[in-house]
């Protein structure tokens, strides 16, 4: 029994770490701009397909493919902000949400034309044999995923705490008008937040590519899971996103293991609703009221 529970735990943590990176993208964009980007899942898809093309198709070294793919997705995020979000007069949050839904359909359509309808697969980052822990197997890719996610979170924390730009972004998150008054270029911060959050989605995609099969329509589900994780942890909180992602991943795996795999989504969402009922602004979120 212990062996199985441990295995569920490993599986949950692996998926959870991926949800966490995606949730980080959601939460940092929300923190700076108050916007939820429904095209986040499409950034994940672009990251995954980009990596496969660069790494396997063009035979670039893994690190270079990783960097280029992340940068490419970040640039796409930048374009989205510049071409679509910025141009709206009198932006109402729900209007921006619909624009991002439009953008997600557009990106999906472009990806279908570029990569075709078929799925693609990628090998794991390294060919190490899986680790045996008390009878449960821990894959090398899982270790890669967890290590990279931890590094990303630490880097993000350092960025927010140590660098001037990071502090400026925090200031925008707290009060955009006040930030503008003390001379922070909030427009540039918004742009940066878009690029960073898209890049975060891209990293999520890169990490998930070797685990699963990647295709143009993989983004919706992953985006949805990331959104749930971000909400669960509390929007605007980086640690909340990590916690939410992990919790969601583990709940799903345990739902499969201890109850039924056909009901796993229902079980996970039921528990999420319970948590939201007790903490209406997420576990680590601050009380904030936004209306439509």
């Amino acid at each position: 029994m212990l062996q199985e529970v441990l295995q569920y735990f490993f599986s949950g943590v692996t998926n959870g770490a991926i949800y966490a990176v995606i949730a980080l993208g959601f939460t940092m964009l929300f923190g700076t701009t108050g916007l939820i980007n429904f095209a986040q899942g499409e950034f994940v898809m672009l990251g995954a397909l980009g990596l496969i093309t660069l790494w396997k198709g063009l035979d670039l070294p893994l690190w270079l493919a990783f960097v280029l793919s992340t940068a490419g997705v970040a640039a796409t995020g930048l374009l989205l902000e510049r071409l679509a979000i910025r141009t709206v007069r009198k932006p109402h949050p729900i209007v921006l949400v619909i624009i991002t839904i439009g953008a997600s359909i557009l990106l999906k359509g472009i990806a279908m034309l570029a990569w075709g309808k078929d799925a693609r697969s990628a090998p794991p980052f390294s060919r190490h044999p899986p680790l045996e822990v008390a009878g449960a197997t821990l894959l090398s890719q899982s270790i890669w995923i967890i290590v990279i996610v931890v590094l990303v979170v630490l880097a993000l924390q350092a960025f927010y705490r140590k660098s001037l730009t990071g502090k400026a972004m925090q200031a925008c998150a707290i009060n955009q008008k006040a930030a503008l008054l003390i001379g922070i270029p909030s427009e540039r911060m918004t742009l940066l937040a878009f690029a960073l959050s898209a890049g975060m989605g891209g990293i999520g995609g890169i990490l998930v590519a070797p685990v699963t099969m990647s295709s143009y329509d993989m983004g919706m589900l992953l985006g949805l899971k990331g959104f749930c994780a971000a909400m669960l942890g509390g929007l605007g909180s980086s640690w909340g996103a990590v916690l939410g992602g992990m919790l969601l991943g583990i709940l799903e795996a345990l739902g499969v293991g201890l109850f039924s795999s056909s009901l796993k989504d229902a079980i996970a969402f039921f528990l999420l609703l319970g948590i939201l009922y007790l903490r209406p602004s997420g576990i680590l979120g601050e009380k904030a009221v936004h209306r439509f």
Partner: protein, 386 residues
């Protein structure tokens, strides 16, 4: 004498030319028969709909190249339902009321087919579905036929193979959609007949990224073999996960993965996997006497030449549907009730999927021979002995 002879010749040639021309212009003058097609060309099931659309167009070209039917050429009107039942209904209405088709081929999926069944029954339009669900033709509905093998045949093929290998305790993992649900039903229903016990039953979402949790649960029930029922890419993830978790029991996949894409996605994790498939994947390995061999060779060659892409078993459903219709059409003058009646009389039609023998009680018409068992060996399909 010479002159008269040559004059006769000229007259004869002229007469023949006029007659041929008349026959020809007669052929052109006849209204073409319009055949509707509804497939999931885009969306999650495009792996079915896309080759189906292409195969339907190809089959219609073939028949037109032979001069059509009773002098009528065939004309295809094809719409995309994106796998959405509501869109399938709209498309079928459009085909019936706007395009005045005499028969419909498709849709690709069980739910989309079932959504338009009430309409074609009411409007009395023959429908030849390309979906597998058993609910489509059982109970028999007068105007509804289908070309895809029912899952029960695939399950029989798998279970017969297991019985030979003396495997009795199995675990199953099925995808959470209509295809997986139908597979799960049949796996449960047929198990007792083959003395097989299902010790653990799991399911996975079509877009799930990782199935190790389900496999852990399966493993803890100690099955002698695992059956996975799904369509790409999920089953490829399962093959990979099974390899990673070092599970040694034999793995059976369903015919839902029977395309070269699966070999590419699962890579070496697919080695040793058993699956039932239409004969198309092993055309070259079929015995010379197999009646399907020439049909398959022709189809594979033409499809790959025309579309420059590897062939899968799915396009054959639409290809066969057109040829079945073409066999039923002569003498009906496009009358839908007559087409229906004559569809029921189609016997011994050798198609890509199998040999069709329709009857008033069987609107699928396929026998056990529609499936063969193959094993994946060295990255390729290997036909197994019956």
């Amino acid at each position: 004498m010479r002159q008269t002879e040559s004059r006769w010749m000229v007259t004869l040639v002229l007469c023949a030319a006029v007659m041929l021309g008349m026959a020809h212009s007669h052929a052109w003058a006849k209204e073409p028969y319009r055949i509707g097609g509804v497939f999931s060309i885009t969306g999650a099931s495009s792996f079915l709909g896309d080759p189906e659309k292409k195969s339907m167009e190809m089959a219609i070209e073939e028949i037109n190249a032979r001069g059509g039917i009773d002098g009528h050429l065939l004309e295809a009107v094809i719409y995309d339902d994106e796998g959405d039942p509501t869109k399938a209904v709209l498309n079928a209405t459009k085909l019936i009321s706007k395009d005045n088709v005499i028969a419909i081929i498709g849709p690709s999926l069980t739910p989309t087919t079932l959504a338009i069944v009430p309409m074609v029954e009411k409007e009395k339009i023959p429908l030849i579905s390309c979906a597998a669900g058993i609910k489509i033709t059982e109970p028999v509905k007068p105007f509804v036929f289908k070309t895809a093998q029912s899952d029960v045949l695939a399950v029989n093929a798998i279970y017969s193979h297991m019985k030979k290998g003396k495997l009795q305790k199995i675990g199953i993992i099925t995808v959470a959609n209509a295809f997986g649900e139908s597979g799960q039903e049949q796996l449960n229903a047929q198990a007792a007949k083959y003395g097989i016990e299902i010790v653990q039953s799991e399911s996975f979402g079509a877009k799930d990224t990782d199935m190790t949790a389900q496999l852990t649960k399966l493993r803890s029930a100690n099955p002698q073999a695992i059956v996975c029922w799904g369509t790409n890419p999920g089953p490829a993830v399962i093959s990979k996960n099974i390899q990673q978790m070092n599970m040694k029991m034999p793995l059976y996949q369903s015919h839902g993965v029977a395309s070269p894409k699966f070999l590419e996605l699962a890579g070496d994790a697919a080695e040793g996997t058993y699956l039932p498939t239409g004969k198309i994947l092993v055309t070259g390995q079929l015995a010379e006497g197999d009646p399907q061999k020439p049909v398959l060779q022709h189809y594979v060659q033409e499809f790959e030449k025309k579309y420059q892409m590897p062939v899968s078993g799915f396009g054959g459903y639409a290809y066969d549907a057109v040829h079945i219709l073409a066999k039923a059409l002569p003498g009906t003058e496009g009358n839908k009730e007559k087409i229906r009646d004559s569809l029921e009389k189609v016997r011994g039609l050798v198609g890509v999927t199998g040999t069709f023998n329709f009857s008033p009680t069987d609107h699928n018409g396929l026998g056990e021979d529609a499936f063969v068992m193959v094993q994946i060996q060295k990255g390729n399909w290997k036909l197994l002995e019956k």
